[in-house]
Amino acid sequence: MAQFTLDGKKVEAKEGSLVIDAAREAGTEIPHYCYHPTLGNPGNCRLCVVEVEGAPKPMVSCRLPVKEGMVVHSNSPQALRARSSALELHLVNHPLDCPVCDQAGECGLQDYYMKHGQYESQVRENKLHKKKRVPIGPHVMLDQERCVLCTRCTRFTSEVTKTHELGIFGRGHKEAIDLAPGKTLDNPYSGNVVDICPVGALTDRDFRYKVRVWYLDKTNSICPGCSRGCNISLHTNTKRPWHNEGRRAARIKPRHNAEINGYWICDEGRYSCSKLDEDRLGKVMQLKPAPAEISWDAALSEISQSLAKNIEEKGKEGLAVIASGLLSNEDWAGFKKIFVEALKVSHFLFTPEPDQMGEEDELLRKKEKVPNLKGGEALGFGTQIKSESWESLAQKIESGKIWGLYILERDPSKVWKEKTKNLLDKLELIVFQSPYKTAIGNWAHYRLPATSYAEEEGHFTNFEGKIQKYEQALLPLGEALPDWDILQKLERHYKEVQSHALTGASK
């Protein structure tokens, strides 16, 4: 460890670590564009300059190792002058089109210029024009004029994804970021270059002009896209509903967690937010014999009565439950309480099936496209309690052994295809509980709306067994309730029906 002085304070840091890192740990944020903790420190933006006593000129703190006894001033007149001169050079060709720029409100140039800028520009020349509004991939839009050439994006494509789509072309003042010949920025992590771009040079095509960033509310959440459990920040627009095409979820940004996802998330997770409110179930429905809206209490007590009646007549072996890894730990606990402890169900199905499997790679993405199979495993689902396969369950229904099916957030019609109708017609009771409409929902006797992960609080256990909390970002849509709440209410109703049956028998 070495001790040095930063702005008059004594700071402890590892000998040889960077001054910019040591300062951040000590609570002093030194402005920077090119430096990024995981992408190295080319030292080309010259914004992190600090004054070091004894050094002949200002030093860039992102390339300056800590030495015992050095005296650093991050806000001395010399450092501030060097910083404002560097900013002036960054703005020589910057178009200053903040009114139309999506980065406005979270832009490095805006933030630092308010603090350190020279308000009177000395530049009298015309600005140089470069390429504007170039879609460089399915998700990213490039504006070369706004670029400050920090090279974070090129380093991301060469060091993190190793796909090398972006590079710097030209020399001197004509230098610009562009696509490598014959390439498009379509790797599965392309959205991250938008996050690391400190200015508005790389913006999201998906988010473009939808809503201003200062209207957004931010909630800490966990991506439900796969079993990695990446930490995300869910940005929602609820105060001004006419923006963002009426959608409540505006965008998803990664949240730094060194143990899970670092600074990144994949595009699949990032652009899933536009589908958050699509095809949602909002009302409790009884669909058979005739479709009708029904209250929660009525629906749950009718389901309980039907369950009790069928268990009495045909035995508890005839009930099957299909669940998915989309359930939170809390949901799994409620699930266990009703289906294992109260109803003693013997047929479960929760293994991820073709519709929930996807691509996997070494960086972040995992094969199972559901977040919380591990949470179920912790309660014995998939280990002590074995799962059926789709075929074996279909056979059991075919042979008439099963009379009831309780489906949570899954769609068997995707697997059973054209057989589905024949199979489901044999059943006495189908309950479908999910946030989303699926084909199977229309065959169910009862359709119960559940909340999506953005509308409830809970925990997911990722594939490594790390338990992480996600917070509620939005109000439930319509009559939707969290899965655990529905299951707990159902359990209460079922117990009530049972106790009535008992007292009835004793009379």
Partner: protein, 177 residues
């Protein structure tokens, strides 16, 4: 801080006050003073002698209202030389509006240099407090409050909402409501 109470004593009841006539005369005295002062000023003006201007009665709404040079009146949206709206949908006016009466939906402009434009722009004049912040905030000088239109009336609240075309033309289209 405690509330301070100041007691005011009523004037004593007397004959002069109870017959009211004396107070009526005092009131009329004020009226006649104004009449003769203004009559004098108008007469002097007619004779070509400079004095303070006399009071004038305007037959509003038959005659137009006299507005100060800097009066804030109904908004108008300005156009560029080529006739397209100047508004780039930066949403600064919507953000600063304390009455939240401005609603803008942005979209991509076909012109690469313009980049962004308003798909729809509406002001609910029934909510507007005429503070003028929107005109102040606009970075492209697209919105002014100098239409000199102060007679904004409607039979229905939703008719008080002016859309982009109406704000550009300065005329409420009765069919749009």
């Amino acid at each position: 801080m405690a509330i301070k109470i100041k007691e005011v004593t009523r004037p004593p009841k007397n004959f002069q006050g109870q017959i009211y006539l004396w107070e009526v005369w005092l009131g009329l005295l004020v009226t006649f003073r104004h009449l003769f002062v203004n009559l004098g000023r108008h007469t002097l003006k007619a004779l070509g002698i400079k004095t303070e201007p006399g009071a004038v009665t305007i037959q509003y709404p038959e005659d137009p209202a006299v507005l100060g040079k800097r009066a804030r009146t109904r908004h108008r949206l300005l156009k560029r030389d080529d006739g397209t709206p100047r508004c780039t949908a930066c949403l600064l006016c919507e953000t600063i509006c304390p009455a939240k009466c401005i609603r803008i939906v942005a979209e991509e402009s076909p012109d690469v240099i313009v980049e962004k434009r308003a798909k729809s722009f509406s002001i609910d004049l029934g909510l507007c407090v005429f503070c003028g912040y929107c005109a102040e905030a606009c970075p492209v000088d697209a919105i002014h409050m100098d239409s000199t239109d102060v007679a904004i009336t409607a039979y229905d609240r939703k008719d008080m909402i002016w859309n982009m075309a109406e704000l550009l033309e300065g005329k409420k289209n009765p069919a749009s409501a």
